[in-house]
Symmetry: none
Amino acid sequence: MRYKKSAVSSSQIVQAAIRVLARQGYARTSLMDIAREAGMSKGAVHYHFPTKESLIEVVLTTATDAVQQRTIEAWSSGGDPLQSLHNSLEELWKARAERTDEALVVADLLAQSLYDDNLRPHLADYYRLAAEQIYVYLNTELSRMGIKPAIPMEILPRIVIGLLDGLVMQAFVEPDVLEAADVVRAVESLGLALFGVARPPA
Amino acid sequence: MRYKKSAVSSSQIVQAAIRVLARQGYARTSLMDIAREAGMSKGAVHYHFPTKESLIEVVLTTATDAVQQRTIEAWSSGGDPLQSLHNSLEELWKARAERTDEALVVADLLAQSLYDDNLRPHLADYYRLAAEQIYVYLNTELSRMGIKPAIPMEILPRIVIGLLDGLVMQAFVEPDVLEAADVVRAVESLGLALFGVARPPA
Amino acid sequence: MRYKKSAVSSSQIVQAAIRVLARQGYARTSLMDIAREAGMSKGAVHYHFPTKESLIEVVLTTATDAVQQRTIEAWSSGGDPLQSLHNSLEELWKARAERTDEALVVADLLAQSLYDDNLRPHLADYYRLAAEQIYVYLNTELSRMGIKPAIPMEILPRIVIGLLDGLVMQAFVEPDVLEAADVVRAVESLGLALFGVARPPA
Amino acid sequence: MRYKKSAVSSSQIVQAAIRVLARQGYARTSLMDIAREAGMSKGAVHYHFPTKESLIEVVLTTATDAVQQRTIEAWSSGGDPLQSLHNSLEELWKARAERTDEALVVADLLAQSLYDDNLRPHLADYYRLAAEQIYVYLNTELSRMGIKPAIPMEILPRIVIGLLDGLVMQAFVEPDVLEAADVVRAVESLGLALFGVARPPA
DNA sequence: TATGAATGAGCCTTCATTCAT
DNA sequence: AATGAATGAAGGCTCATTCAT
């Protein structure tokens, strides 16, 4: 009973932290802010997470998991391969660009991780996992369609992720420059071009 | 005379700030760190830049300018269009991925800018300028080669920048996963595929 | 049965506290440290000792008792009076200087007691008891030997204690400066000189 | 001019710290207490002493110096050797037992030093210096008087210091048990007994 | 133009204590 | 009799900022 409460409080804190971080960014967020958002005392936060770093680590993995989780489902769409690719790309993009709290937190902590040795491995994992997902998906689909990509399959997933992440940052900085439909269509064209397949008319 | 000295000190501070920020990241850098690196007192820094924000703004524009400047030269290579494209892409990549102080600072402040209304416009400018450069270049080259891209020319530069920026973040997080040659070759293939041109053998 | 268990836990806590205090000193010891050493929760410690002060008081009396107890036996050696004195002094010294946990705790809390009105009386008792012991012993021995000291019998025990305590602090601060044999011999000479008796050759 | 101010403030802080420590003891004294006593902000204290430890170190050396300094003068009394010894012992005692702020601080930090590796060396120095002073004095006086002590000259100063320090702690714990006159007379007798000299009648 | 000194708000963390279970 | 959870008051420290010189 008491243990359950701890788990509940613990995740309340993490969720609160994600909300505050999404709103203010890491550099401007104090434990007090998080405690207040979680409706607890500062002491309670420290009871569950001995240091700020330990909390942020959990926050990061939680946020990356959320972003990841949202895309996993998108891969299994089956049916028409072209339509499936389209849907998957769209979800991949939305999961990052829709300014969900988790996506914002990942983007922010990504920069932090450049200088924080505890954070960096988590982001490396995040990239690796995402790359794997895409690799498996593309490998299946492409062999199903009997075509070979123009660039090595090992690097292709990294390209996809990089492209999306980089575009997301632009979208965050200039919200009106990039529209979802345009981006998806462009990425799609790009992907198809690689395999000598013409994009179907919009 | 006095003005010159002031300008010298001022830029010494900015350069010192770029070095320190590249080393420690924004969230872990204090004005004291910067002053020490610049060989001055904290008071002197405040004399030249009334607030920390005002200094960071100048730092950001200086850093983005440096990254920008490095690529401008790359565009004018002329000669064989394919070779020219290759060279330009390579320089574009290196300017971001070589972990120069300026590139690191831009990557770090990019995240800051999500929560800092003073910083964001500068990054928007940076993106806009880079996109314009690429637009002009591609427009010229493509019409020279008489081909039309498969995706709108308006969005194409954004794609290129996004792709490179996104890949750079991965390279920063996992230094050994992406090698320059691979990236350039892949991006190149990607670009060429868009225009139905096969990449020349390595 | 329940009482016994309580008493057991209670004394476990006190013993754990003595160990931790001997290791870290009062100023650096928290109730958590003590609870952990005792293998209990913080709440359990508070169940047995409502406040930290109340625990420390018991710790102090326990520690002084232990130091005291160890010397009591030394007094009853009988036999050759000179040899008896020698043995007693030696034990008196060792009980304090051997860095037993209890001796360290007494030394540490002695300083605390200067500012803690609850602790001071306990130390006063400790001194008084030790002085009494020595008084009784010396009185018996001296009258048995038929000699009179050169300084008042009332102050003599205080002198002995003071001498030993003061030397112990030096020994604690500089472990290698004072060797047990030297100290005992010196104190012995001192004592004997007071009564015009030459110390027997080593 | 500015430098002087710094030195002044710095020593104001140290003096304030000594007053507060003498009043409350190390374990109960915060930097805020010291800042308030010094009439400055907490930040100012940290400006002059980066850490609490660094301040305490200076406080300790200042306090031991003060205690030391007070006795140095006492040694040079010249004249009748017995009277000189008496005066010196009296001053030695008073410097410790009169509850001057410095003496209290030394007594308190002495216990701290058992667990603080930065403090211990300072106290070792304090003991060493005091022992040396006494050594030189006694050596001169005794050879002037043509007598030899019953215990080794190397250990004799340690005995004197230990005796006084130990008695001081008793006096601090039980202010009314030990009176200065009694102590001095007793110590004097003790010293003289060592050399076979009868103490002159009070 | 530059410095040393000082401020004060805020930060992360520790800790004795309370309390429901 | 004991625990896990939570509190809230300090505590030491950092830091952007101000100011007299």
